[in-house]
Symmetry: C2
Subunit: 470 residues, 2 copies
Amino acid sequence: MQNGAPSSPVQYAPIDDHLAAELAKRFGPAFSRLDADLQTASEDASGLRRRPEAVLFAKSVEDIQEIVHLANLHEFAVTPRGAGTGLAGGALAEHGGVVVSLAGRNRILDVDPVNMLAVVEPGAVTGRIRKAARAKGLFYPPDPASLDKSTIGGNVATDAGGPACVKYGVTRDYVLGLEAVLPGGDLLRAGVATRKGVVGYDLTRLLTGSEGTLGIITKLILKLIPHPRAVRTALALFPDPGKAVAAVGAVMNSGVTPSCVELMDNRCLTLVAELLPFPLRGGQTSLLLVETDGDEASAESDMACVVAACTQMSAMEVLPAGDPTAREKMWEVRRQISTRIHDAAALYMSEDVAVPLAYIPELIASVQMLEREFGLTVYAFGHAGDGNIHLNIIAETLDPDTRERMDRLVERILNTVLNLNGTISGEHGLGIAKKRYAPLELSPASLTLQRGIKKLFDPNMILNPGKIFP
Amino acid sequence: MQNGAPSSPVQYAPIDDHLAAELAKRFGPAFSRLDADLQTASEDASGLRRRPEAVLFAKSVEDIQEIVHLANLHEFAVTPRGAGTGLAGGALAEHGGVVVSLAGRNRILDVDPVNMLAVVEPGAVTGRIRKAARAKGLFYPPDPASLDKSTIGGNVATDAGGPACVKYGVTRDYVLGLEAVLPGGDLLRAGVATRKGVVGYDLTRLLTGSEGTLGIITKLILKLIPHPRAVRTALALFPDPGKAVAAVGAVMNSGVTPSCVELMDNRCLTLVAELLPFPLRGGQTSLLLVETDGDEASAESDMACVVAACTQMSAMEVLPAGDPTAREKMWEVRRQISTRIHDAAALYMSEDVAVPLAYIPELIASVQMLEREFGLTVYAFGHAGDGNIHLNIIAETLDPDTRERMDRLVERILNTVLNLNGTISGEHGLGIAKKRYAPLELSPASLTLQRGIKKLFDPNMILNPGKIFP
């Protein structure tokens, strides 16, 4: 295979005073070395920190082409960044250099109700795009938990998922076309403005999920669909997490496709007990938050199928949301879990595995055994309907021994997942946080090809280096 | 860009008697130079002919790895082939060498109702997979017109579409994972067996739609969904093709997503007049064949929305299919059109353009003008609901002047499509037939990258050479 071997680690040039002066002259106040800006750009939602040497608040496509051009010339690293809500460190400057903030490139250029598509800049917040579509009767389904903050560019870069993806598919399924500045500085136009298109290789989807390593997205053409007219929401209570996950398969096999099937295990529920619309009876109670949508009649009849499946699978009770306020409260429970786990732990690792539906019970049982073996606590919640379970491992202390135990537990969990025919990341990506695990899932042939693609796009390895590949 | 420039045309070694003897020794009777086999392998549904020098009926993955290995060693071309139903010559041996038939690798290895996926070999006929899924209450939606003959491997290689794609998406949306023999001989495993997965670059979708130029698919993991329980079908009659296509936007914007919106213009209808369940009144009558599906209630209420939209947009009449037999008759009309156009013409070219919904009327009006300008006849039918219109240009004579006029008309049509923000191929691919038009749609930067990807995967250019790239 040509170009297969990774080049030896590139040495990146520092942004010294001389270079900084050149950049400041070129970009004016959009180029910053202010401590506050570097501080903000040094964090995302992964808990990792990497301080860049400078931040460029991109004002135009030309700015992006120019910084990439200068990076190739001077050999410094460039890392694109949206809202910094990523969970794997994908937007952090692993090798210093310049973070290019796309947050200011946030226009919704068009929401076209006839052609049912949106044209947006990468810094547009996903929630805003959803609202703009909704106002015209249309629906942009992908709904990562961060949607009120995260940008569409970041969503596309990580191929973000969310609860609605069990019915509607992931971000990738809604990207029809894109424009991106390639690492060499050329502007790439890929994809189409139509539902279909098969002209040449699928560069649109190659860039989608590439975590900002193959190009800096500057424009997106998104597919929209008619907004469902009605939704039904319910909480199904199960006596223990094993019974809750056993019901997931039955719900998904009930002949209808629910628009969300979210799991919250007993550990998660103890953290949000005061928010629950029922008293926590016994320590093992676990929940499925389920929704169906469509027109009034089908949302209702689909929910009847889902409820029947839950009841059949030993649900103790199914509580419907009687009105939008009750629905909002149920979602508040789900949304609070991440934050509360984070707050409760000294040390915290978030895994994002997915397994085929039939193997979720086995995964949960294995995790319970591993918890005991390693003396650590694992919270399980997330998008059970597509097998994508967020496993949050926490420890009360920060000592090296605990960290090492946690690392070993993570590796055991990931191997378990792969033995169950699953994937080590359903929707967060590898970034910095998980790149060392890539070889567990990807074969040498696959990694060689992927490194070759990276080198083809970015011969000088200036764009978002240090990500994905171990 | 590294590897960007196309290498000078490769000289391929002939399969001479010496080499043929070596291959026959290695593969036994699976290796054929029989005239009948070469004849069959020299055709597809494009009308083009390219005679290979030999055919290998692959019996195993190892066979495929071995032929690829020998092709690199001896520098002959290898072209993968399913059922030969492609419309762009993608499975034809443009540079001679060995056609590798996957038709015998046709097992449906698993249809898993719990995990809602199918695992299949590339030679499995798509219609068989759909039936096997249906038997377990599941649905594999992509439905190219050729589905009773075409293989899933070919469908994936071309990212095939079909009428149902307007609601359910294209083949790509149902490929979760795959295995493929790379041009270097390694077996690549890409993708997942879950609904989600974001580990590394999306090689699954890079191979999907790559027309057999990046790898020979040996196994596929397909996503299945619950089978809709009910369907409603109707024919909407319009006084002329312009009014029919004007209604498409209204139907798609009616707030529901129909499961098919197929156009048949007045020219097409004259060819199938005796099959129509109504008398052809006037020469301009044009049809939309529409369907809705879901549960009984929503299929019914969605159809009511679609009918209302058609009536609003000057439909003269909407004829519902009262029973499965009536439905079957309506589909027979649609299916016969391709064949009858083909039979009616001395010279025949099939275009497969797609434009955003709002521009279909403009496309049809432009085509009508161009027909007059060039003195040629264009039949328009196909998947209007996603803007994907098959334009079939015919001539009664075969002389060089007519062919040249036809070529010029095609180029004018394709430029019109691109000016309307469309694509020159919605679902058939470029293959040999349309590769010369690739630069109309793809920028130099894009073509350079794509050629680089091809060279990275296939440094000796042995796999399916002469396709996609001009």
